[in-house]
Symmetry: C2
Subunit: 467 residues, 2 copies
């Protein structure tokens, strides 16, 4: 890999900008093409969420490129879920029993701008905005671009092309349509869509509700969440079915009906959102989808990364973190000293795909958990028990949420397998009344650990069957 | 549903022909378009398997349309798997402990021809061969066809259009490309492909090896199978990786190497196939893929059925049976008396998709089981135990294979859940030495049943978590 030839990156979003920065730091000549305008100069409505959950895996990536000190001021810590019931009563459910474990709310655009600044400061990294990739000839390593400015098209060859062009990736579409190799691909939509709304700051610029939490109004069939912004506002997201249930996106067509829906289910939120009805009809409703595919690479010519390779639903707050972790994993493969790009890409996908498949599935699980389970007695008992474990035995127990979110040195797949087995163990021990919450906590932990190991072993025998 | 308007069916393969027959019997006016020539008049190389496994679910469909007496003479019973080891030693592993439970080998073309004859005999059913559908405007209910004969294109409107046009369905492709609604879709390829070969009859026209079994040469990383034909030949299929392992499709490029491969791993089969090397290079290598999608229907205008809706890998011998069962399930929904096609299609998909998803997953499981597990000690112990259960307690136990294959009144999904739980129960009881094969068989069955129920219950609690 001594050849520091031309690298082309399609897409300068969070993943593409970080990848450009890291490859630039490693000495590669990098040219990045982005279809949108430069978000540092023009207000860009990305059509994507305004703020995002940012946690350990993302932080690890920022440390890799040496900018975590610049990222920190952009972060608003969220220590737990603030659960709002229908009467407007609230309860803070911490994310962990360990005080130093929390997630952050961060502005997508501010973080993206920082990454662009850092990458652009390198001599060997160049960005071209307003350049839309329209197709990639991955056999020849040639991309076709449309320049919005003068409405012309041109092609650009490179030694290696990275597609970090998001869930609607043009590189991935080129793989799919060309039928030059067996390309496994899936796109799975939830029956729910989402719409972004907002809670504006008070006139004085203060937060209208508790700042340091991720607010959730879970109502089983649908839910509302809110994440804080630095300016005192919250970005609010409604997750709702397109066509099922009494209230859904397809039938919330009048102001009166929207108000009726919110005043029935989200009374306390509605009081903070005098702007609700206008926003509801101004803002788009967007779908929620999961994309998986394989292979990510074509020989040693092209590679998909980030959402282009594995788009996930937002319910674990891991979308950006997973894309950042791609760059960390890729960097590690580069360190391994393979002799050519094909071996690098093959090793990267082999190492990484099992983990991005896992976080995709975990994110779907969490959709159901957030909507409903957080409110149910047995799940609350389980959660309380886990909090007690994490507080009293901080080095001996980590919940599934903690494994996924705060244990950046454990892969998503391992976190999923262990986390699900723990969940199953606790729920079954509770359901079968095999643990008594009045017992000694150390004893309960012992039983949970034993039951978890049994489940992992039994699954492993059965897995040999299903391979 | 009193409107017996125009129904269009795209594809006159096994599913399309059966659907045409059934809808014709119900009094609908049906027009069927097929891209291939009429296989009753021209030798059609369908590029698909020559013979197929035909079992209870398929038989139920034949009974529905009243032609099982005509199908029976086409069937060759296969009572079990004839396992061939590397030394050429064989062992017959029966499919069931109940003597009346077996599967059949049947010619795809002979069965398809019969279905075409039966459907065409109805006044209200018409077939057009050599008409290739190129796209479907599913909003307007208009299909576009290319006529090979005079190289012209035309469009054809219908009240309702069924896409029974196989794994490469044009109707499904139209859903995908149009982006008019959220279409979840997946295509998943195995790393293995397949190639068809043959064992010809003796000069006298006799079978060269045991007729009434499905022959399997399982070698962990790859396998060979053979199914009998009425003319004394066997159709042989090699399942092998494209690029992994010492021998693979990509590197079996010379006659010497192919012979080396077969003489190393399939010595006894090679002796029956003097024609092997020529066939190997004459016959195509084809991929093995699973297709799932949703929704199958667009409002009340169009519906996917059979492989077009759910293509599966061949390892459970259920591909044709599942497509035939689609017609049985659809017929049942028609009986329910819904007032319009949209409600019929919605009810059909709701009832049916869970089962076709399950058989797709089961077929992947069985790939691994057939290649390898059939040879491993613990799996053989399990299988022997299940055979003993089925023989001694024929009304109290059915293995996963029996639930899937011989219990046509249990849906695939239920068969999968119960069958997997049973497998897990037996394997874990054996591994943990909690059952002793010298115990009273009635006692062992009791333990297996209890453990199965525990697993099903525990999974059900955990499932509420993952919903």
């Amino acid at each position: 890999m001594t050849n520091k030839g031309n690298i082309q990156i399609i897409g300068a979003g969070l993943c593409g900008a970080l990848l450009a920065l890291r490859l630039g730091q490693r000495g590669y000549n990098v040219e990045v093409f982005e279809k949108r305008p430069d978000l540092r100069k023009v207000a860009v409505d990305a059509g994507r969420s305004i703020n995002l959950a940012f946690s350990n895996r993302g932080i690890k990536a920022m440390k890799l490129v040496g900018i975590q000190d610049k990222v920190e001021p952009l972060c608003i810590p969220m220590y737990g879920r603030m659960l709002h019931d229908e009467e407007g009563k609230t309860m803070l459910a911490p994310y962990s029993g360990r005080a130093h474990e929390y997630i952050n709310s961060i502005s997508r655009n501010a973080l993206n701008a920082l990454l662009l600044d850092e990458a652009e400061a390198l001599d060997n990294v160049t960005f071209h905005f307003n350049h839309k990739c329209t197709s990639v000839d991955f056999e020849k390593g040639i991309s076709r671009f449309y320049k919005y400015k003068d409405e012309t098209e041109f092609t650009k060859k490179a030694d290696v092309i990275f597609g970090t062009d998001g869930a609607g990736s043009v590189l991935r579409k080129s793989y799919f349509l060309a039928k030059k190799f067996l390309f496994s691909f899936s796109q799975d939509y939830l029956t729910h869509g989402y719409k972004e709304l907002s809670i504006l700051p008070t006139k004085k610029g203060d937060y209208k509700t508790y700042k340091n939490a991720l607010h959730i109004w879970g109502r089983d069939a649908f839910m509302l969440i809110a994440l804080p912004n630095l300016d005192g506002s919250f970005t609010v997201t409604l997750f709702l079915s397109y066509d099922e249930g009494v209230y859904n996106f397809n039938n919330l067509t009048t102001k009166a009906r929207v108000l009726e829906f919110f005043s029935t289910y989200f009374k306390d939120a509605l009081e903070l959102m005098p702007n609700l009805v206008d926003e509801f009809f101004e803002n788009p409703t967007s779908p929620l989808g999961t994309v998986k595919c394989s292979p990510w690479h074509y020989k040693g010519k092209t590679l998909l990364m980030g959402d282009a390779a594995h788009a996930i639903v937002p319910f674990y707050g891991q979308g950006m973190n997973a894309s950042f972790e791609d760059v960390v994993a890729f960097d590690k493969v580069l360190d391994a000293g393979y002799g050519n790009w094909e071996d690098v890409f093959t090793a990267f996908e082999k190492e990484r795909k099992k983990d991005t498949d896992a976080i995709a599935d975990l994110a779907i699980d969490n959709f159901h958990e957030m909507k409903g389970h957080v409110n149910k007695a047995i799940f609350r008992e389980k959660r309380n028990l886990e909090m007690a474990f994490e507080k009293q035995f901080p080095n001996e127990y980590a919940s599934k949420y903690a494994l996924v979110t705060f244990n950046e040195d454990i892969g998503y797949r391992e976190a999923m397998l262990r986390g699900r087995a723990q969940d199953k163990a606790i729920l079954n021990l509770l359901a079968d009344k095999k643990i008594n919450l009045n017992d000694d906590l150390r004893n309960i932990l012992k039983k949970v650990k034993e039951e978890t190991e049994t489940i992992l072993e039994e699954d492993s025998v059965a897995k040999k069957m299903h391979h």
